[in-house]
Structure formats: C-alpha cells, structure tokens
Symmetry: C2
Amino acid sequence: MNTINPLREILKEKKTLHSNRGMNLENDINLSNQYYIDTNQAYIYKKPTPIKIVKVDYPTKINKVNKIKIKEAYFESPSTTDYNGLYSGKYIDFEAKETNNKSYFPLENIHLHQIKHLRNILNNGGICFLIVRFNEYNKTYLLFASDFFNFIDNNERKSIPYDYFKEKGYEIEEKFSPRLDYLKIIKKYMEVNYGKEEK
Amino acid sequence: MNTINPLREILKEKKTLHSNRGMNLENDINLSNQYYIDTNQAYIYKKPTPIKIVKVDYPTKINKVNKIKIKEAYFESPSTTDYNGLYSGKYIDFEAKETNNKSYFPLENIHLHQIKHLRNILNNGGICFLIVRFNEYNKTYLLFASDFFNFIDNNERKSIPYDYFKEKGYEIEEKFSPRLDYLKIIKKYMEVNYGKEEK
C-alpha cells in the first residue's frame, strides 16, 4: 500500500523545484547582478522600494529612542523600475515580473508611471527592457522596451501574448552562475546597435 | 524711533534669501532635473529613500484596511547615492550635500557604502560626481569622483578643504532656469573625455 512510485517522486520533486524557481525571479536577478559585479562585468542593482511616510517618532530623552522611528507608512505605486545600473558606461534599466498565466502577460503588472519612465530612458539613449518569467513553462524572456512599446502602441488589448515574447523577445539562459545571464543579450545588442553608431 | 534703516532691511532680506537658498540644494537639483526632462536634454531623477521595514499590518476584513500598513520602520544608511539617470545614453550618478562649514567639507557626510557605489560606477565607465554647496559662500561645486578619490586615497584627513573644490571642482552656475546648470559641465566633460575615445 505504501509502495513508492519512483517516477511520481521524481516528478513531484521537479514540480517543487519548478515552483520554487518560479517564485524566485528577483532572487535569480540579484544573484546574477552580484556575479556581474564580482567579475567586473557590469554594475546593476535594485533600487529601494518607494514608501510614503505618514507618521514618525523623533528621538527624545523620554522615550530613549535614539533614531527616528517610522510609525505609519505605505508602499507607494512605483514611479520607476526595480533595477538600474550601467554596462560599459551605458545606462541600463529594467523591470522584472513573473506570471502564472500560460498564454499571456497581463499589462496591469506594469504601472503607467513605469511606462513613462521607460519612454524617458529610451528617448535619452538608454538601454531598457522587461524581464518576464512565465512560471508555467519556467522560461524567462528579455523584451526590449522598443518592442514593448511597439506592442502597446499598436494594440488595444490589456495583455501581451506569450507568442509575442517568443517572437520578439530573447530567452534568457538559466545557468548555475550567473543564474540568469541577461547581460549576454545586452552585450550582443550593444555590438549590433552601438558598435558603429557611437561617436 | 521706529525709523526704518533701508540698508539694514536690504541686508536682512539678502540674509534671508541666502539662508533659504542654502537649505534648498535638493529643491534646486529637483527643479533642474525637471527642466532637463522638459527640454529633452537628460533624464536624471532622485532614487527612493531606503527604509528598513520591521512590522506591517496586512489587509483583513476585520480591520477594514485595504492596503498594507507599515507600522514600524527605520531609515537605512544609504548604500547608493541620491540621484542617477542618463544623458545621451551615458550613466550619470551623483550625491548632493551642503555644508555650513567655511573652510572644508566633512567626509562624514559621505558613507562608506556610497564610496563603494561610486567606485563601482567609475570602474564601469559611468560619470559620477559630488555636488557640494558651501552655504557660507552660497557657492556650489561639482567635483568628479576621480578627483574625489584622488583626494581621499592620498590624504589622511577627515575633510576636503574648500580650496580643493575651488582648484579641482567646477563651480555650478545658478540661474533662474535651470536653477543649477550642472549638466553644462557634464556636456563639456563628455566632449573632452568621450568625444574621441568611444567606439
């Protein structure tokens, strides 16, 4: 009765691994960024989370608190993206999101302020993109902001189909180290786009 | 008895203006950054303040709160600088400080993590600097990170003399708009340093 089906066990384990990895896009990116720093390839880092402070307690002799304590605050809707930094002097900026959806990436994941932010970067010659992980397939794509804007500026729908990522995006290789080698795509992109153009 | 001394009034007014301006370096920079955005010259912005969250209240049906409330949090020592962004694709990063000191800028104003951050940027080909306002003279200087490091790496003292800013720094012009035209210095710097070098 308690016989163990080895195949089932393996599949269960895979499922767990799969789910864990799906929930750790941020972690994978942070590890990759640290790898790029350690190997002197790029310096890309996570920005602090924007928080709206409502009430604070200032240090006083009476309460013996020696630093300002925030007593009431709320998460603000982000006006920029999660990550930025530089590679070879170039400004790099991106937002990372995962979705459990099988066939599309819902646009409600990206705020209007973030879209404005990405447009500003593009207008000023920066490199910006989205990193989107489809947990169901455990596949992670890099979609350049220009392709992202091409889609949202020419479509009414509130989501981007998975097929659009497969067609226009670049699948990011998952390795032991760096976990998500998105810089490899950026390096190629810069060779192709800036190799000649730059003064 | 109540005669007004016009000279005294003028001097009093000047003093007030002077103090106001001295306390508003951040405001002057924010206005300048907005001017650069509006005139499509550059996109440079303030990062959120890093905050360490200790306790939160999650939304429940009982307390009728529909968003996460942060109940206890503290300001974190900044690990990066206040401002970053891009000009003509190049990564730009700086920290802005003011001092009431007449003859030097105390180095305790810049944290160790921020110094590491600036070194990372410099190593990856970015443009980074300090903007320091000496309130006493109402003069604001831009000091490139390379000159900043030249000083701290070769000196034991815990402050940078005002004379070093006058010698190695660049005084930032104060105007009506933009209030602090630091980008003018960056543009010249890029012409001189990257005009030929870049591929």
